[in-house]
């Protein structure tokens, strides 16, 4: 298979298929599943920028999502800002928080990065829990304003509007990630990841690239969080929890760390797989076991992820 087919034709075909899906899928529940899958796809593919491309063992990625959720929730509900602007604002606050997290992490290595980033996410969660006047504490926030553009209301269209808005976000985020991966900056991230001393000897500042990778990975993750708050009309501290983190991580690992499309494909597949398992009686909790087994199998048999495996099989 030529790179042309792999990098252009297949993704475009997938995009067209996803754009046409709502014509055939009219029930709002299935559309909801797609929307959640798109959100996870944005989370996982942007996480790949720091973890996969730059090799930063960032286990605080969901912090950026949570910051996005609360930024938008507070701005839209408490401040009364237009929900669309509130979503956009999450694309600013999340990278700012990423800078704060990156500062202590930039010069650390390996397991220390895991510890500090995870601790940071717990810190932010504690902050959200403790500031209950603003954030609603453990109960979170409810009845967040929904989206309206002109006369078009997003809550009585069987989720059609949200479907396309979220797909649009995924597309823009993916283009953003591809442009980064192809730029000299993106190449420098891989250089830092694979050969730190050599990269430094070629004028690349390792800590600067790490900070930038973290901040850039937070932009669309934050926006996705903002969208999530408006879409579900709730903000709850659960988003910082271990469940979201492991689900997103499984998508990243199964999809293939270091590839742009892998995590997106895996996010769609895993979202639907877990959902259909949840529908089978007695399997509600077993789905996490299924994901864990799938993760172990992929890591054993195809450490480069399903997309890497696909690439190997198709030459």
């Amino acid at each position: 298979m030529t790179p042309m087919i792999r990098n252009v034709v297949l993704p475009l075909a997938a995009l067209i298929a996803l754009a046409l899906t709502p014509i055939f899928v009219i029930d709002s529940y299935t559309r909801h599943l797609f929307i959640i899958a798109f959100i996870y796809a944005i989370i996982a593919s942007n996480w790949n920028l720091s973890l996969g491309q730059c090799g930063v063992f960032n286990f605080g990625h969901l912090t950026f999502f949570g910051v996005g959720v609360y930024t938008t929730a507070i701005l839209a509900k408490t401040v009364g800002l237009n929900p669309l602007l509130a979503i956009a604002a999450a694309g600013v606050t999340a990278p700012i928080v990423a800078f704060l997290m990156a500062a202590p992490v930039a010069r650390l290595k390996g397991i220390y990065v895991v510890l500090v980033t995870f601790a940071f996410s717990q810190l932010v969660m504690q902050l959200v829990l403790s500031q209950s006047q603003i954030t609603g504490g453990a109960e979170g926030m409810v009845r967040i304003p929904y989206l309206k553009i002109g006369d078009y209301s997003f809550i009585r269209d069987y989720k059609l509007g949200y479907y396309y808005l979220c797909l649009g976000l995924l597309v823009v985020s993916t283009i953003f990630l591809i442009l980064i991966a192809r730029s000299p900056f993106g190449k420098s991230l891989k250089a830092v990841r694979d050969a730190e001393d050599y990269a430094v000897s070629r004028g690349i500042s390792v800590s600067r690239q790490r900070v930038l990778a973290l901040a850039l990975s937070a932009i669309f993750t934050g926006v996705a969080g903002g969208f999530y708050a408006i879409y579900l009309r709730v903000a709850s501290p659960e988003v910082f929890g271990f469940g979201t983190l492991t689900l997103a991580l499984s998508m990243l690992l199964i999809g293939g760390v270091g590839t742009t499309y892998g995590p997106i494909v895996a996010a769609l597949a895993i979202s639907f797989a877990t959902e259909s398992l949840a529908g089978i009686r007695g399997f509600e909790e077993a789905r996490y076991i299924v994901i864990a087994v799938a993760m172990i199998l992929v890591l054993r048999l195809a450490p480069e992820g399903i997309l890497g495996l696909f690439r190997r099989l198709t030459g």
Binding site: S188, D194, E196, D197, Y198, A199, S201, R202, G203, G258
Partner: protein, 243 residues
């Protein structure tokens, strides 16, 4: 000697109790090919490391480059100022192609735009006599000699003032070494100062204008190649070191 481009003053580097480099001082003139010899473990690579800050600076002492003290600078800034090195162990960016490796070096170390970098890459590859059909190969797929060529080309593309080479000839065949020598002489003629670590003394003597010989972290002898070989202490260190 013309004006000094590098001055190392009383440089020391300790690893715990081990003094790997002890009070080393020397000066390199602009445009020189300056050799650094010494048996295994004598501190040659450590000296390069502490001069470039990769991955550490000196424990004590001063490094001046072009009149400016650089021993507290961040390592990437030292590289960007024009003091550029290669590594003894083959270094590569396995996921980048030959061209991408050069692009990154040109953009970050040479302050070139992406399009200038592409032009510059072509001329540097020609200079290094790199097979033009293999520029889109991943670095991890290259042969040993090609990896060395690329490491040198990626240093040259940023137009360094000083090129520091750590045993570039190790692992190469005789004809490859001959090509490498020609390349280095050409680069030097174009005005680049070269610091060359070579473990094999005979090779080093043929290209260096001056050299130092390290032994157990300290300078054992220095001067013109013809004088250094006659030094009985050098013969002793090398025979003792088994070369």
């Amino acid at each position: 000697m013309t004006n000094a481009i590098i001055e190392v003053v009383d440089a020391c580097k300790s690893f715990g109790g081990l003094k790997a480099v002890k009070d080393v001082s020397f000066t390199v003139g602009a445009g020189e090919i300056f050799g650094i010899a010494g048996p295994n473990g004598s501190g040659k690579s450590t000296l390069f490391n502490l001069m470039t800050g990769i991955p550490y600076g000196p424990t004590s002492g001063e490094i001046r480059f072009d009149g400016t003290r650089i021993d507290r600078w961040p390592a990437h800034a030292i590289a960007r100022s024009g003091l550029c090195r290669t590594f003894q162990k083959d270094a590569e960016f396995p996921d980048l192609t030959v061209l991408e490796t050069l692009l990154v070096s040109a953009v970050y170390n040479g302050d070139l735009s992406a399009s200038e970098a592409a032009n510059e890459a072509q001329s540097v590859l020609e200079l290094a006599q790199f097979d033009p059909n293999r520029v889109d190969m991943l670095s991890s797929e290259l042969s040993v000699y090609e990896k060395k060529q690329l490491m040198i080309a990626s240093a040259l593309i940023s137009k360094p003032k000083v090129l520091m080479l750590d045993e570039p000839a190790s692992g190469l065949t005789k004809p490859e070494i001959a090509k490498l020598d020609a390349l280095l002489l050409g680069v030097n003629r174009a005005g680049v100062t070269i610091l060359l670590i070579e473990h094999v003394l005979s090779l080093l003597l043929s290209v260096s204008q001056r050299l130092i010989v390290l032994n157990q972290g300290a300078i054992l002898a220095q001067g013109l190649p013809a004088d250094v070989v006659k030094d009985p202490a050098v013969a002793e260190a090398y025979l003792g070191g088994g070369v």
